[in-house]
């Protein structure tokens, strides 16, 4: 070991000056870049943000197109060669890691070399994409990026929405355009803060607890599909897998509360345990409604069962699903510790609950986990009840467009694509935020009352009703088919009413905001 260090040191003595020279050359370059770029970034931050978002979208789209192209060319080559493919190439998916590179090489040789209809430079450029591990690394990068970006921007958005609800502006300064880099800046600040461990705390557990919280919520993204092919791993038990890993988060909170050596933290942990364990049951019951209706635990297949436009979404399929969706949303609020169920971290009762003793990066881990879990449950709600990545328009309308590459793009935008999934998630997140900044917190006995005496019987009844409904639907009776169709359109109509009323009310409020807030506020308050 010492010899190794010595060798390293000798290496540094020899190469050190060269490295320092390079650094010295690099430094003025960096400074010049900063001088040039700084004002542009400061003045055109909004533009840069928008173009970055657009670039990311284009990048993801191009990445998916690329993988699709490679897959198709391989399939086409195989079909022309008359070879039956096995393993990873047998179905089109952007992320597969079924075979080792050597096995892929063998298969490619079997089907006649590297995709025959690729030529020249493209052949070499696309060659690495054929390997599952390359795709997986790209996919994992995208996954980790999403896992970082989603909480950060949900926090920013929550602050903006909260500000608007409370007749103030929210973050406005950092980054220029509506404080768009407030959350990243906060994150950097938290990274650099001192990591305090209270005296008398169980230090190893105290350090470990945030990871118990953040890793499960990252794992949930592994199985959460954003689109038909935009899924890192298409698991056949994706639904219960996500439910299971989200359930593990409770352990992190309990350990955090226990290890902090603080009585308020223990209170937070106990409340969390009570609340989570009891709300997991109605949550699971509500999750079973779509499972009973579609007969699968695979999220992609559940969404596939809902194609066909607005009226075919599961939430409108029966009155039971309609009420079950609301029950699911309430239970998901409780399982994310969102107001009015934010008892484990109730700041006016328990100081900060299990978070009391945490600071710096470990504290932010809990927040990352919480906001990521929020997104995951919103995604589950969208997938299970609101048609996932299908748009309200029936996909059959797009058949006329054909199958050209531009037609596929238009279809992805109009009929089914990740953009719809994200839009639905963002709307549900907005509802969660809206509820949080409107309602007071409920008491622990009321929390348990709401679970055991309201939600649990309700979801059980809904499950029973859905089962009967599905059983009746299999009977091929004409009258019943009419009943289901009428129910579907009535419920869909109610949903449509909400869907139109919501923006209408928002627009009304926006245009009459002066009258609603009053002239005095305009004159007296800064920023109005």
């Amino acid at each position: 070991m010492r010899i190794l260090l010595w060798k390293l040191w000798m290496g540094y003595r020899i190469f050190g000056p060269i490295i320092e020279l390079l650094m010295a050359m690099f430094r003025p370059f960096a400074v010049a870049m900063y001088r040039m770029g700084g004002p542009i970034v400061a003045q055109m931050a909004g533009m840069i943000l928008i173009s970055a978002v657009v670039a990311v979208c284009v990048g993801v789209w191009a990445h998916a197109m690329l993988f699709g192209f490679v897959d198709e060319s391989i399939l086409a080559t195989a079909a022309s060669a008359g070879v039956e493919l096995t393993g990873a190439f047998s179905y089109v998916s952007p992320a597969t890691w079924g075979l080792t590179p050597s096995q892929i090489a063998v298969q490619l040789q079997q089907v006649g070399g590297v995709a025959a209809n690729m030529s020249g430079v493209a052949q070499y450029l696309l060659w690495p994409v054929q390997f599952g591990i390359v795709r997986d690394l790209v996919g994992l990068g995208a996954l980790m990026g999403l896992f970082n970006i989603i909480p950060v921007y949900t926090i920013w958005w929550e602050r903006k929405v909260a500000g608007r609800i409370q007749s103030r502006l929210g973050p406005m300064r950092v980054g220029g355009w509506h404080g768009w880099s407030q959350s990243p800046a906060d994150g950097i600040k938290l990274l650099l803060k001192e990591d305090l461990i209270p005296d008398g705390a169980d230090a190893p557990l105290f350090r470990l607890a945030p990871y118990f919280n953040i890793i499960p919520s990252a794992l949930a993204f592994v199985a959460l599909p954003f689109g038909a092919t935009y899924v890192f791993r298409e698991l056949d038990v994706a639904l219960i897998f996500i439910l299971g890993v989200l359930g593990v988060e409770v352990l992190g909170v309990m350990l955090a509360g226990w290890a902090s050596n603080n009585k308020w933290s223990v209170y937070g942990a106990m409340r969390e345990a009570c609340q989570m364990v009891s709300y997991e049951i109605p949550l699971g019951m509500a999750l079973l409604l779509p499972v009973v209706t579609t007969g699968t635990l695979n999220l992609t297949k559940i969404v596939d069962a809902q194609s066909g436009g607005w009226f075919h979404w599961l939430v409108f399929s029966s009155p039971f699903a309609f009420i079950g969706f609301i029950a699911f949303f309430v239970a998901s609020l409780a399982s994310c510790k969102r107001a009015p169920f934010d008892l484990p971290e109730a700041e006016s009762e328990l100081v900060a609950g299990f978070l009391t003793e945490y600071s710096g990066i470990r504290w932010s881990f809990f927040f990352f986990a919480e906001y990521a879990a929020m997104f995951v449950v919103c995604g589950l709600a969208a997938i299970l009840f609101l048609g996932g990545w299908h748009s309200p328009l029936p996909a059959s309308w797009g058949a006329a467009l054909g199958d050209a590459w531009y037609a596929r793009g238009v279809k992805g935008l109009l009929f089914s694509g990740p953009v719809w999934f994200v839009a639905k998630c963002v709307f549900l997140l907005y509802v969660q935020i809206w509820i949080r900044w409107t309602l007071p917190r409920i008491r622990i006995d009321q929390v348990l009352y709401a679970c055991v005496q309201v939600l649990l019987p309700l979801t059980m009844l809904m499950l029973l009703g859905t089962t009967v409904w599905v059983w009746a639907s299999t009977s091929e009776c004409e009258t019943w088919a009419m009943v289901t169709a009428i129910t579907r359109y009535v419920l869909g109509g109610i949903g449509l009413m909400f869907a139109f009323a919501f923006p209408a009310i928002a627009a009304y409020g926006f245009y009459h905001r002066r009258a609603m807030v009053g002239n005095l506020v305009q004159d007296a308050m800064p920023g109005s």
Binding site: S348, T438, L439, P440, R441, L520
Partner: protein
Amino acid sequence: MADTVFEASPDTMIDYDSSQQGDLRTEEMLINMGPQHPSTHGVLRVVLRTDGEMVLEAIPHIGYLHRCAEKIGEAVQPYQYVPYTDRMDYLAGMNNNQAFSLAIERLCGIEVPPRGETIRVAFAELNRIASHLVSLGTYGLDMGAFTPFLYCFREREMILDLFEAACGARLTYSYITPGGVHDDLPASWVERCLEFLDYFETKISDYNNLLSFNHIFVKRTSRVGVISIDDAIGYGLTGPCLRGSGIRWDLRKTAPYDGYENYDFDIPIAKPGGTDEIPEGVIVGDCWSRYWVRVLEMTESVKIIRQALGRLPNGDFIAPKMKNIKLPEDEVYVEVENPRGQLGFLVAGDKSAIPSRVKARGPSFCNLCITEKACKNVMLADVPAIIGSIDVVMGEVDR
């Protein structure tokens, strides 16, 4: 004596007996709530003896903000002491100024000019609204509702703007002094104030829709921390806490000062749920009743301010030659109706310009005594609810 309207007796109190709760009996725990706790409204420290989520006993400890405010009164002249009264109940500085000024005036037999008297009433009532707005907002905060707090503070800012226009200060006004008020109203102040009142009256319904009648809020505060009439009188509660127990007692009616007898207003008191617009489940003397009395009082204050501004006479606003007056060898005790209850000042003179004794009777201090009784066998989340509904200001408790 006050006319009692509705009886609140101990048997209507919600019974959190552990046998009913069916909870597990676990270790009892002593836990410090405060002095640095978000919902103890300053530096109150409450030691809780808890069994799980149940609070068996809550003992308030005070004194973290003691600043010898009373003793200082025996070293300075009365007009110099007025700023110290601001810092007792810092949310209701005007009312504190008024109480001390009234005591000095009564001791020296000074006649306040009618304009000064009317301005005093208007400012005292404006400050009552401002103080109740803080109380409402922070009570929402205690319940976990963040938004009403900012709405309340938005309106309070406007009142503070009005105060600032009149006296230059936004928190410690020292505006009302012995003999009247120390400055006249600036130009167009009355119009601005009336504009604010028009605006503010529409906002009260916003608070009600957002917070007062919110189902969760009602469930959290009704039948919690019930204070019976006997307790309320026995512990010497005053102000909204007393009226929240159903006793119609308000010094502005029962012992009017500064010409309150000439104004037409009601004294709101708590009523049981189901009557008027009060939601079901509320009983007289619970946290929601105390909260509701404050909401109603704001409307009454608006009424009083309108009358005062309507009849604002011309003339002097302060009695002449108020500095270096010799206090006679006598002592007086004067009480006024503070937003939190009866604030009394005892002032004794000894023929010098400096009082020989100044003693304050603070409403928050007396109201806080009920905490120990009200917080017996409640849930942990009810403790902030009860303390918030009593609405203490620690600056005045510790003085």
